[in-house]
Amino acid sequence: MDFRFTEEQISFRDSLKKLCEETCKTSSIRSLWNSLERLDQARWSKLIDLGVVGSLIEKDEGGLGLTDIDLVLMAEESGYYALPEPLWEVALSGSILKYIPNNNEENWKARLANGDFFILTCHEINKFTPNADLADAFFLQDGDGLYFATKEEAKIIERDGLDPSQPIFEIKWKPKKSKRLMHRSESVEVWQEILNRGALFTSAQLLGLTQKVLDLSVDYVKSREQFGRAIGSFQAVKHLLANIQVKLEFARPVVYKAAYSLASNSSGRYRDVSYAKIVSSQVSKLASKTAIQSHGAIGYTWESDLQIFMKRIWFLDVMWGSSVWHLKRLEKEILSPSSEIGPGGTFV
């Protein structure tokens, strides 16, 4: 029983932190909003060098063969910086390569692993696919299996999204039998695994975002003065922020445990991932609300960086299953009289 991350995992996280600190300032995020560029190429190259996009691909397929536990802290960190690039979405697509037979002509597997080729997974849990315009190809599910489609074979329709850093798209596409990668009998579980992993990465990002809006709020209320004193010295403000601290502290181990459950293919992984998504959605939404209340009018402006993180929270809140969807997924298990949950059942 050891509920700690390894030094390697922490240093892997720290290298992403350093990269974000240097290259993903809010000014850089904002500059993309007004640019025709859809990616910060310099940052993206560095991210690829870090290995994340191929991290979940097996070593013999050209990836790093890492697990969710190795990545969860990084996903959290990328949330803290509201990294706009679809790092996790691409990594996610890599995670199912091992299930895909080696019989496709494009030889995209290796290119995916080294970041030359973007595949996004259009899961039906997500009505919209963010950043679909950046993809070279898609994984898609149809009634009879899991499919591959190049960007030319799919029609992507842009919608207006709340988060300016995450353009969203609807994908229209007609399955071609020749592009079927897996029959339904095999793909159902893979498709569920993708959902779980998507929800886990989303949860981790939400943790980081929560920490960020909390930090921004703390900084603001320390410096903003009214009635001759920093507003952070007023108990009403203190207690609002203290509540977020409490909830965030209790959310983290839930998300980390979900990463473990997924990596170890535990039978409780569905429940654990759902709980991670619920708790991270809840704390992040409450933190947004608290942050804007702590900032007052300034937090309501386009100019304030707070919006960058709040909008990402609201956006991720509905990705890979809303907290309501996940609540419904686990409620039967929780309310079962024979549920393992309870004293002694935490890790079984």
Partner: protein
């Protein structure tokens, strides 16, 4: 106690319903926080004034109908039921208007009220400053009398509607040696005056619902002083009372949102958890409580009662209710709740998203809810400062 509408009230309701049925624009107007939408809404104000519906509680001589508060409530119910556009001139009609009627000179009333009623002059407010928000008494923007003029220097901010409006009212330090609540004066000024620069502030949704106002030796004639020089604080408190109080947030608005929320829930029940179901019901009930409380207070006022610090309890109640309703709606919308306000396909979702973003400001503007709770604790419950 008799909770039936009189025949007269019923027929007044019918009259309103009829007029709005044929006069509310068929197409939804653009947001009044855009240039084009602002003018569309100005036209709506003009249309309202043609029907004499702009400010029904004002005296007839100023363009009103001498309506009592019950009639006003009936009017608002019909106004919202008809899905009428928002009121771009609410700063004028609901805040400045009543202030002028109470504190203005005859000349000021004659000069400003008709133009306000007609929608010709749309008003903005100019209270907050960068360092005077919750602590309004810390304001520093100066208006120093020089002959028959006030010379204004300094800055105001968070002035709602100022991006496109014609006039503004605000509070200024007229005695440079004063501090806190002393030495403040309430002034009216045109936003296009020389020495005044408007810098619109973009909101969370990208629109320009408020602005900064910079003053550099801007001149305002002394005729534009409301009340006496130095009495600005008490006049502003009266105005802020109108804002937090009965008239700015009529129950019909929240009742309508609650009904829409129920319909959304019924359409999206598959997106709801069991807890959401109960919260939707609770919102409907709370909207009713808000309506009942308003009728209750209105009856008290009609018969000579006074409104006191209830304005603060009101503000907490409606802002929290509005916030809760919009959060629930966003939950029910799931993926569509993450759309931007310019999405062209899901118009219902976009309406909720705009409302959600706006609801975030509710607990902040017009005095944060923290300040309101202090007021309730100190002024109603008598707890020590």
């Amino acid at each position: 106690m008799d909770l039936r509408y009189t025949k007269q009230q019923e027929s007044f309701r019918k009259e309103i319903r009829k007029w709005f049925k044929s006069n509310v624009p068929k197409e939804k107007l653009l947001s009044f926080d855009t240039k084009e939408g602002f003018e569309q809404h100005r036209n709506w104000e003009k249309k309202l004034s043609e029907g004499r519906w702009t400010a029904i509680t004002w005296p007839k001589i100023y363009g009103g109908r001498d309506c009592d508060l019950i009639e006003w409530l009936i009017f608002e119910e019909e106004y919202y039921l008809a899905n009428s556009p928002g009121r771009v001139n609410q700063n004028g009609i609901f805040l400045l208007g009543p202030t002028l009627i109470e504190y203005g000179t005859d000349e000021q009333k004659e000069r400003f009220l008709p133009e306000m009623i007609s929608g010709k002059e749309i008003w903005s407010q100019a209270w907050s400053e960068p360092n005077a928000g919750s602590d309004l008494a810390a304001l520093q923007c100066k208006a120093i009398r020089k002959g028959d003029k006030y010379i204004i220097n300094g800055q105001k901010t968070w002035s709602s509607r100022a991006s496109f409006a014609d006039w503004a009212f605000g509070l200024f330090r007229s005695d440079p040696n004063s501090n806190r609540h002393q030495g403040l004066s309430f002034l009216l000024f045109p936003l296009n005056a020389e020495g005044i620069t408007i810098r619109p502030i973009s909101q969370l949704d990208g629109e320009q619902g408020f602005a900064e106002i910079f003053f550099e030796n801007a001149e305002v004639p002394v005729e534009n002083l409301v009340g006496n020089e130095g009495d600005g604080w008490s006049i502003t408190m009266a105005t802020a009372g109108f804002e937090r109080g009965l008239m700015l947030r009529s129950p019909a608005r929240f009742q309508l949102t609650a009904r829409k929320l129920v319909n959304l829930y019924l359409n999206k029940e598959k997106n709801a958890s069991s807890g959401i179901r109960e919260k939707v019901i609770q919102c409907c009930l709370d909207a009713e409580a808000y309506a009942l409380n308003t009728y209750w207070t209105a009856c008290k006022l009609i018969h000579g009662g006074k409104i006191g610090f209830e304005a603060s309890t009101n503000k907490i109640f409606w802002s929290e209710l509005d916030s809760e309703m919009h959060e629930l709606a966003i939950s029910l919308l799931e993926a569509e709740g993450s759309l931007g306000i310019n999405d062209q396909i899901s118009s219902e979702a976009v309406e909720w998203i705009k409302g959600f973003l706006f609801s975030l400001a509710g607990p902040i503007y017009a005095g944060t809810n923290e300040i309101q709770r202090n007021i309730i604790a100190e002024r109603i419950l008598g707890l020590p400062k």
